[in-house]
C-alpha cells in the first residue's frame, strides 16, 4: 500500500512538474485546457449529452429484444427450423465483423437517401437502427454463451417434467443464462454509450457534434476535453460496477 502510494505520488508529481516545461505547453494549455472556454461551453455540452443519454436509453430495450431474438434463433433445436439458425449465425457474423462507424454511415446515409419523407429520413432514427443492428449482434452472442453455459441436466430435468421446449427455455434456461451474463452486458452498455457519439457523423447534434461546433466557433479544443470528462463521469463508475459484478460472480461460483 505504502509503496504503491509513494510511487504513484512520484509519477503524478513528475508529470505535473515536467509537462509544463515542454516548449509547446503554453499553446496547448490555452487551446485544450482553457478554463474560460470550459466554463462557457459546459452547460450546452451537458445539454447535448442528454441526446446521447436519450439515444442510449431508447436503443437499449431494442438491442436486448433483437439480441434475445437472435440468440434464441441460434438456440433452436428442431431441424425444421435450421434456416433460422443459419440466419442468426450470419447476422451475428456480419454485424460483428463490420466497424460500427461503417454501419452508421451505410444505414444513416443510405436509407434516407432512398428519398423517404419526413420524419422517416431522420438521422436519429437511422442512427439508432445502426446501433441496434450492431449491438444486438454482440448481445446475441453474449446471451448465446450464457445459454450454452447452463448445464445440460437442467434442460433434461425440465423436459422430464413434461415442460415444452419453449417453457423450458423461458422458465429454466433463460433466467439462469441472463443472470450469468449481466456483467458482460454491462460492459457492452458502456461501449454503447461511447459509440452513441459516432452518430455525430450523420447529423444528430449530440455532445461530440456540439463540441465540434464550439471548436469551430471559438477556435479552441477545450470543448472536446470537456466532452471527454463528461463521458468519463458516466463510463468510469459503470465500468467499475461491471467489474464489481464480475468479481462477485467469480467468487460466488468458486
Amino acid at each position: 500500500m505504502v509503496v504503491a502510494g509513494v510511487s504513484t505520488a512520484i509519477v503524478v508529481l513528475s508529470i505535473v512538474m515536467l509537462v509544463p516545461l515542454a516548449p509547446g505547453w503554453e499553446g496547448v494549455k490555452t487551446s485544450f485546457f482553457n478554463g474560460e472556454v470550459f466554463a462557457k461551453t459546459l452547460p450546452k455540452l451537458l445539454k447535448a449529452f442528454l441526446w446521447d443519454v436519450a439515444i442510449f436509453a431508447w436503443s437499449v430495450p431494442l438491442i436486448f429484444a433483437l439480441g434475445l431474438a437472435i440468440a434464441l434463433a441460434r438456440a433452436v433445436r428442431s431441424p425444421a427450423l435450421f434456416p433460422l439458425r443459419i440466419f442468426g449465425a450470419a447476422y451475428v457474423d456480419i454485424f460483428r465483423g463490420v466497424p460500427v462507424v461503417l454501419v452508421i454511415y451505410l444505414v444513416g446515409f443510405g436509407v434516407p437517401g432512398l428519398g423517404l419523407p419526413r420524419p422517416w429520413n431522420s438521422p436519429y432514427i437511422w442512427g439508432t437502427v445502426a446501433l441496434v443492428l450492431t449491438y444486438s449482434a454482440y448481445i446475441a452472442e453474449v446471451l448465446r454463451g450464457g445459454i450454452e453455459s447452463i448445464h445440460a441436466s437442467q434442460r433434461a430435468a425440465a423436459i422430464c417434467l413434461g415442460l415444452s421446449e419453449r417453457d423450458t427455455m423461458r422458465y429454466v434456461i433463460l433466467p439462469q443464462a441472463i443472470r450469468r451474463v449481466i456483467p458482460a452486458n454491462m460492459n457492452m452498455l458502456v461501449a454503447l454509450q461511447k459509440d452513441v457519439a459516432l452518430l455525430s457523423f450523420i447529423g444528430p447534434v449530440e455532445i461530440l457534434r456540439q463540441a465540434g461546433i464550439f471548436k469551430s466557433l471559438l477556435a479552441n479544443f477545450t470543448p472536446y476535453v470537456a466532452a471527454a470528462l463528461i463521458f468519463l463521469c458516466v463510463t468510469v463508475p459503470a465500468t467499475r460496477y461491471a467489474d464489481y459484478l464480475m468479481n462477485r460472480d467469480r467468487n460466488a461460483r468458486s
Binding site: H151, S153, Q154, A156, A157, A158, I159, C160, L161, G162, L163, S164, D167, Y171, V172, P175, Q176, R179
Partner: protein, 246 residues
C-alpha cells in the same frame, strides 16, 4: 401387445459405434419395484433415459400401457408427465425456491387450480419432512433435502411410474438414509418404480425384482433373495462378490 404397465422389447441403443444397450426386454407390472444393479458404465442410466425417451432408442419398443412411446414423431411432453424421474444430482432449478421448483411444471402443464395445487404441494413438503424448507433456494438446502424436493417435484405431477437414477450416490453417507426413507414411503404406497442403485442392502430389502445389468444386457434377474443368495450366472457372482466385499 404386452400386458404390463411398462414393457421394453428389444431396446437397443448405441452412442457412435459403441453399443450401450443390447436388446433389452423388461416388463414392469403396476405397483412393482425393480432395482437395476451393475457396474459403472454398464448402461443403467442409459436404460432409464431410454424409458422416458430422453434418449431415443435405436431399435426396439417401449410400451406404456397400450401406447408405443418410442414411436417416432410422438409429442413426448404429455408422455413424460406420466413418468417421473430423479437424477443423481443437478435436479433442482437453482434460481427458484423449493416450492417454485415444485410448482413450475404443474402450473404450466396440468389443468389444476393454483390454490389446490399449492395445498397439495405443501402436504408433500410436510410428508417428507421439509415443511420448514419450502421457501429456501436449492443452495440453502443439504444434498439430501435437495433430492427430497426433487422427488416431491416429480410426485406433484402424479406420475404413473417413477424412475430413480442413483439418487443417493452423490450424497454424504449420513444423508443417504433420509432419502431412502422417501423411497420406502413410496414403496408402501404402491408406486411403480425402477431404481438404478448401488445400495445393495436397500435393493435386497425392498425390491420385488433385481436386474443385474452388464455390458448393456440384463444378464440375470429375479427376486432379491434368489439373486443375492444364489446367483446363477458367473458374471453376477463376480459382481456381487466385489460389491458386497466393500
Amino acid at each position: 401387445m404386452p400386458e404390463a404397465k411398462l414393457s421394453l422389447r428389444g431396446v437397443t441403443k448405441s452412442f457412435g459405434k459403441q453399443a450401450i444397450l443390447r436388446c433389452i426386454d423388461l416388463d414392469v407390472a403396476e405397483g412393482e419395484m425393480i432395482c437395476l444393479i451393475g457396474a459403472s458404465g454398464s448402461g443403467k442410466s442409459t436404460l432409464l433415459r431410454c424409458i422416458n425417451q430422453l434418449e431415443p432408442v435405436d431399435d426396439g419398443n417401449v410400451w406404456l400401457d397400450e401406447l408405443d412411446i418410442s414411436a417416432p414423431g410422438l409429442d413426448l411432453a404429455p408422455i413424460r408427465r406420466r413418468i417421473g424421474i430423479v437424477f443423481q444430482s443437478f435436479n433442482l432449478f437453482p434460481h427458484m425456491t423449493a416450492m417454485d421448483n415444485v410448482l413450475l411444471a404443474p402450473r404450466r402443464v396440468l389443468n389444476e387450480e393454483v390454490q389446490g395445487l399449492r395445498l397439495r404441494a405443501e402436504e408433500e413438503f410436510v410428508r417428507f419432512g421439509l415443511a420448514l424448507h419450502k421457501d429456501k433456494y436449492p443452495d440453502q438446502l443439504s444434498g439430501g433435502q435437495q433430492q427430497r424436493v426433487a422427488v416431491i417435484r416429480a410426485l406433484v405431477m402424479r406420475p404413473e411410474i417413477m424412475l430413480f437414477d442413483e439418487i443417493t450416490s452423490a450424497l454424504d453417507p449420513e444423508l443417504v438414509g433420509e432419502v431412502l426413507d422417501v423411497l420406502r414411503e413410496l414403496r408402501a404406497e404402491g408406486m411403480t418404480m425402477i431404481l438404478a442403485t448401488h445400495e445393495m442392502g436397500f435393493a435386497r430389502e425392498l425390491a420385488d425384482r433385481v436386474c443385474f445389468i452388464d455390458g448393456g444386457m440384463i444378464v440375470e434377474q429375479g427376486p432379491p433373495e434368489e439373486l443375492f443368495n444364489k446367483p446363477q450366472v458367473a458374471r453376477t457372482q463376480e459382481f456381487l462378490r466385489t460389491v458386497l466385499r466393500n
